[in-house]
Each structure stands twice: as C-alpha cells, then as structure tokens.
Amino acid sequence: GDGSGEPEEESDNNEETGSEDTGSEEESENEGDSGSASGGDLVIAIPSDVVSMSTHGSNDVPSSNVQENIYETLTDLDENQEVVPGLAEEWEEVDETTWDFHLREGVKFHDGAELTAEVVKQNFDRLVDEEIASPRAFLFEAVESVEVVDDYTVRINLKYPYAPLLANLAHSGTAIMSPNIIEEDYAQMEEGGDVDAYINQNPVGTGPFVYESWEPGGQVVLSRNENYWGEPAKLDTVTFKVVSEQSTRIAELETDASHVADAIGPNNVSRVENTEGMSVLSSPSVSLSYVSFNVEKEPFDDPKVRQAISMAVNKEEIIQGIYNGAGIPAIGPLAPPVFGYDESVSGLEYDPERAKELLAEAGYEDGFSTTIWTNDNEQRVDTAVAIQNQLSEIGIDVEIEELEWGAYLERTANGEHDMFILGWSTVTSDADYGMYPLFHSSQHGSPGNRSFLSNDEIDSILDEARRETDPEARKELYSQAQEMLVEIAPMIYIHHQEYLLGVDETVQDFGIDAQGIYQIKDAYIE
C-alpha cells in the first residue's frame, strides 16, 4: 500500500500470520508484577482501517496486526520463520493424520476464563462453522475434526496428511478467543444478530494487550495485559490510528502525533530519512509482486509468449526506478524467508533479444496488442507503465486499465483479463501457502489461481508436497515446482518488496516481521 487509503491496500499483503516470537520458551508465571516500568503510549499510524476484532472475521493485515496482540495462537513463527511453541507448549504427530497439542496450563483470558482444550475446540469448530462463513476457514481445509483429549490436550484429525498444519496454526486466523465471547456471539446470532457483531465489540484473548476501544475508521486502543502469563509488555498502551493518506502519516510522525508511520512509499523514504528524529525501518517480506497472464487466452496460452514477455521485463529497472531499490528481484514465486525457497533455481534473465526470438517462434514476430490490468496502487500502476514501455520494445502494445478493487477481484476471478498485476504474501511462510492457491488447478479463480494454470505435473507435485511430512523431501518437491514454474511462466515474478516504516527515534525495539506484523511486545518509548 502506498497509503492513499483506498482498500486496495489490502491487496499488497493480504494474508498474514504470525506471531511475535515472544521469548515464550521460558515460561514464567511472574504475573508481570504491575510495577513493570512504564513503557509509554505508542501510536502507530496505519494506512487502512481494522476490519474485524474476531480472529474469524476477516483476512487482512491491519486486523491481524491488532489481533496478534490480543489473541495468541497455538504455535508461533520465530524470526527465522521456524515454528516454535505458542499457547501449545508441545505437540506430537500421533500418526500421519492425527496431531495432539498440549496446551500451556494456567493461561487465563482477559476476562478470567481459563484456556482449556475445550476452548480450543470451540474456537476451531467456529472457524469452520458454515454459519460463520469465515474467510479464514481455508486454514483448516485439511482438518477433519478437533477432539478434546483431556483438559489441556487437543487432538486434530486431518483428512489427509497435511504438512503445513503447524504453520497454519501460527496464523492469527487460528488464534484462540475467549469462550465467553464465542458463546455470547452465538447467543446473539440466535436472536438474529450478525456474525461477529458481539466479538467485534468485546474481543477477549490471552495476549499481552487488552482491548480498550475501537472506533471504526478511527483508531484501536489496546493496553498492557498486567496479568499476562508470560513476560508482560512494556508499553502502557498501543494505539493503531487510521491515517490513510501517506503524506499525512509522515506529517503525523513529523509532528510527533504518531511514533510509527506504516507503509511509507519508496518515494518518501528520503524525506523521512532526512528529517531529524526519525528513521526508516525497512524489512524484507514474504510477499511477491507479480504480473499474471491469463494462460487460457491467446496468445498467453503459448509458454513461449509468456517466457518472451518475462524476459522482456527488466525487473531491476522496476525495482530501482519505481521502488527506489526497496526489494529484491523475484526468480520464482517464493520469497527467500519462506520455507521451501530454493536459491539455486535460476530464473528467466532479462534478455529482450531472446524475447523477440521467442515471440517470433511463437508466431508473433510483429508483436500483438493486449491489456494489463491493475488496481489503484501507485506502485502497481507505475509498474504497469514501466512494463508497457519495456514490452513495446519487443513489439507488444500494452494498454493499461485501472480497475476498482471489487471489480478487479471479481473480474480477474472470472478470467476476463489478459494480464494483471497483483501481489501475494505467503503469510504462513510455508511454500504450500505460497504456491498451492496460486498454481493448483483446483484453485482457479477466486481461490487464487487467477492465471488459470492447469498443469497436471504441478498439481501432483503440490499435492504431494502437502502430504509429505519430511521437511527435506518437501523442500525437494518445492524446488522442483519452482523450476517448472520458471519454465511454464504463468506469471512474471517481479520482485519481493520490503516493508518501509517511518519510526520515531524514541521508539525502541519496535520491529516488523516478514509477514508485515508489528513486533510490539518488547517495544517501549524512551
């Protein structure tokens, strides 16, 4: 998101997960003696509004960013994107399709309820409840059922072996909400209320911060959970303030109204850097920006054409010219931090000469005309402009069309496009999430495969990799897939971007992880 506040922002990093690591290994029931030094009140200017306080409510980054602080997940990802314990102290694979999770004992929700296996089951059942129709239900796609083994042990039965389960359990969509609010929400639904209506106003979790208030479109305020089971947070309060205009976020920073300004456009980096008292925090991400073809349409049904176009696009120019160097060129669909990324795969190099040859081979020596769709995202539009010019050099005449987000989603899902620009964020940091929805033929259209690629080989590799529980074997499969996808070229993998945030000097230990989630728990203000 460049910060203009339109909902296209969602498009950048539409998925997330995560968790702050929380140094949770060493448990500690010190009940965070309320004397813990005051860490101050942190204000974060965020580009777009929080949508839901319910972990099942929506699937967007701003909501996750808030939820991550209120709720916790069974597992977590550490900075190396390795799975580490969260609310579950440990877990074991009973058999290929059965997993037991042992919960941390004595964890209390903000409302005093206790975390038990029953509560976890309640949460997971709700996630897949059709009535709830959660946009995050896909995380439990492979789950057959959830069982309570004992007070602190939950069993998850899978439909088929499913390796990404642990990563999915680190996603905030599977975070655990208090049983009370779930019950109350159901009770209200009985009386004709809407799904999540209650939870949205009364979110209760186990996390290091307690919900204070939410003014939709305005701000969300959280305060420190003094009774946190782990080491309590340092900040007294955190405010997520919606400031949709990028320049205004920077102004907030300059006037000290906010401490952190998220989503600084590449063009404004120098402005922030040159202002005293603040700096830019840039951080690699698990996201990919790509230009996808509609492989069912001529001439994109010919891999040669797709390769030609891929080779005609100068990624370096785009990264330098448009992103001011923030990010790295993409070779395949996966970003380096993602599990399964293979650095040995070599991509299609920029080679316009070869591209022309390929086009000629495909029978398009005179080029052709086509359109490229983009939504209203500054950098995407600029990328489209750059690509338009780059492709004109091999004789392809591209017309750019901007679409509004709703129409964009629908019409690309329907396959009405020739080419379009979008991004993908592998928020579980697992290759399955980064490839399955994008390339599996069962995922045509709205689930993610908007290039409409149907390749049996890819399908079977992805299916197999899902069930394969041996990490090394999985990696092998994904390497194979990556190599093939470079060849098949259903999309141009442009680059893996960096998160750019403006941060006030006084803010210490603030971070953002590869999924785009703020690391707040250890932050404090000097």
Partner: protein, 306 residues
C-alpha cells in the same frame, strides 16, 4: 408556509423511496461481489458461497430489497457487512463529525465568499476584483488534498502552530475547514459577484442612493438581498455536497468522518452502511433544499412556491 413545509416533509417519503431503489439497484449493478471482497484474494469457492448465504445475497432480488426496506422503516439499518457492527452506531458519530465539518466550512465559505464577491462586484475590474478572481481560481483548480497537504506542511510541520490531524479541538478545526471551505468560497464569490452586477444597475438601487444611504447600506441591504437567490442556492448545494464529498479532506486530515466512510464502504460493497449513509444524506439534502426554498421566500416574497 406551514402547509408548504408539511408537504415538503411528506415528499421525503417518495424521495427516500427513490433513493433506496436507486442505491439498491446501483449497488447491485456495480461489478464486484461483496462476498469476494469480504473473503479476500484467496477465497475458496465454498467460503464465498457461505458468505453469500450469510449475507442473503442468494435471495431473490426483491426479497433482498424488501429486507433492506424493512431495515430502513424500522430505522435499524442492520449491521455493516464489513465490520459487523451496527450501522447506526458506526454512522452517527461519523455523521456528526462531517456535519460539523460541513457546517463550519460552509460558514467559512459564506463569510469569505460573500465579502470577496461583493468587493469584486462593487469594484468591477479593479485590482481587487482581478486579484480576488485569481485567488478564487487558484482555490478552485487546486484539488482538496493538495491544499490540505500544503496547509498542513506550513502550519503544522514548518510552523508547528496547528495539529496536523484529527477533529474536535478548536485548533484541529482550522485547517480542514479552510481546506474544505476554499472551493465553496470561490464558488460563492464568483456567484455573488455576477449576481450583484446584475442588481446594482437596477433603478431601486438608485432610489436607495437617493435616500442618502451610505454605499455600504445600499450594497449590503438593497443590492445583496436581491442578488442572493443564486448564492443561497449554491450555498445549499455546497453544504449538501460537503457532507457527502468531504472524503479527500477527511483522508488528508485523518478525520474519521462520513465522507470517507461512504467511499470506503462503497468500494468494500458494504451495502447496509452505504444505503444508510446515502439515506441520511438524502434527508439532509431535502431539508437543506427546503431551507433554501424557504429562504427564497424570505428573500423575495414574490416567489410563489406552491
């Protein structure tokens, strides 16, 4: 007059009905499936279907309209499809913010616009007239966000006089009101000028002068009242459109108002919120235009409204 007001208020009913039909059908005509937007970029088909089911999007269109109408009649607009919060709870605070913003901005525009327009008219083609016109055109050709950002840069960042964002305190009001009111002021100024020029050559102005009135009285009392009809119309229109169209100013100053809400929610296909907001605006428009019509009558008794 009483009858007239009652009749006009009764006309609200067909207007609102018209608005509901139009909003409803346009929302449905717009491309983009709300369920898709809620589900996000990667949404398994059954999730999308479940969401559609939950929102009632699979019902026959008339049933949907009926449900919606029922919500309107009971003044309970249901819950937002985006935030699941009750629409009225979300809408009212934002409405009041934007309402205040619009009121202040309109006052600002009237004040500035009238004075500038009058000066312009009285000194037609003078330096003052030309400069007012240039400033007005400058204000007009500058998009709101530009003006807002520039004001913010000077007054908040460079000078540190005023806060950059927010709404509520006296200091916070200044910049957004100037930003939002400038265009209106320009329009009012130009309208006043031209309307005054039509009036100042009338015989009754000569009569007023012959009475020995000061030029001020002649202009402000005799000429202005006659010239005010198009100006009042413009003011009414301006006020109404500010209410719905403050989105850019609200974004720039991070004001959590209705203008931004409407645009955001249209784009998010949050039908209940959009419908409720548009209805509210329609009511305001009808009321404002009623006031404008009544003020016509005050300005010129000869106008026959019935």
């Amino acid at each position: 007059m009483f009858q007239f007001i009652v009749r006009r208020l009764l006309q609200l009913i067909p207007v609102l009905l018209g608005v509901t039909i139009l909003v409803f059908s346009l929302m449905h005509l717009s491309p983009g499936n709300p369920a898709h937007i809620i589900a996000g970029e990667s949404a398994p088909k059954d999730t999308v279907e479940q969401i559609e089911e939950r929102l009632g999007l699979n019902d026959p269109i008339l049933v949907q309209y009926g449900n919606f109408l029922k919500d309107v009649v009971t003044l309970d607009f249901g819950n937002s499809w985006r935030t699941s919060l009750p629409v009225s709870e979300e809408l009212w605070p934002k409405f009041w913010v934007t309402f205040e913003l619009s009121v202040y901005s309109t006052i600002f525009s009237i004040f500035l616009g009238l004075i500038a327009g009058i000066i312009s008219a009285v000194r037609q083609y003078s330096v003052a007239d030309v400069s007012i016109m240039l400033v007005a055109l400058f204000g007009l050709s500058m998009p709101n966000f530009w003006l807002g950002l520039m004001l913010m840069q000077w007054f908040s960042i460079n000078l540190g006089w005023l806060p950059a964002t927010g709404w509520g305190s006296a200091e916070q009001i200044v910049l957004p009101v100037i930003t939002l009111g400038t265009m209106g002021a320009a329009v009012i100024a130009r309208m006043t000028r031209s309307s005054m020029l039509d009036v100042v050559t009338q015989d009754y102005i000569r009569t007023a002068r012959a009475k020995g009135l000061s030029e001020r009285l002649v202009i402000y009392k005799h000429a202005l009242k006659n010239a005010l009809i198009p100006v009042v119309t413009v003011v009414g229109l301006q006020f109404g459109s500010l209410l719905a169209g403050a989105v850019l100013t609200e974004s720039v100053f991070a004001i959590n108002g209705m203008g931004k809400l409407i645009v955001d929610r249209i784009l998010a296909r949050d039908f209940p919120t959009v419908q409720a907001a548009v209805l509210v605006i329609a009511v305001i428009f009808v009321l404002v235009n009623l006031l404008v019509d009544i003020s016509y009558k005050f300005l010129n008794k000869r106008i026959d409204l019935d």
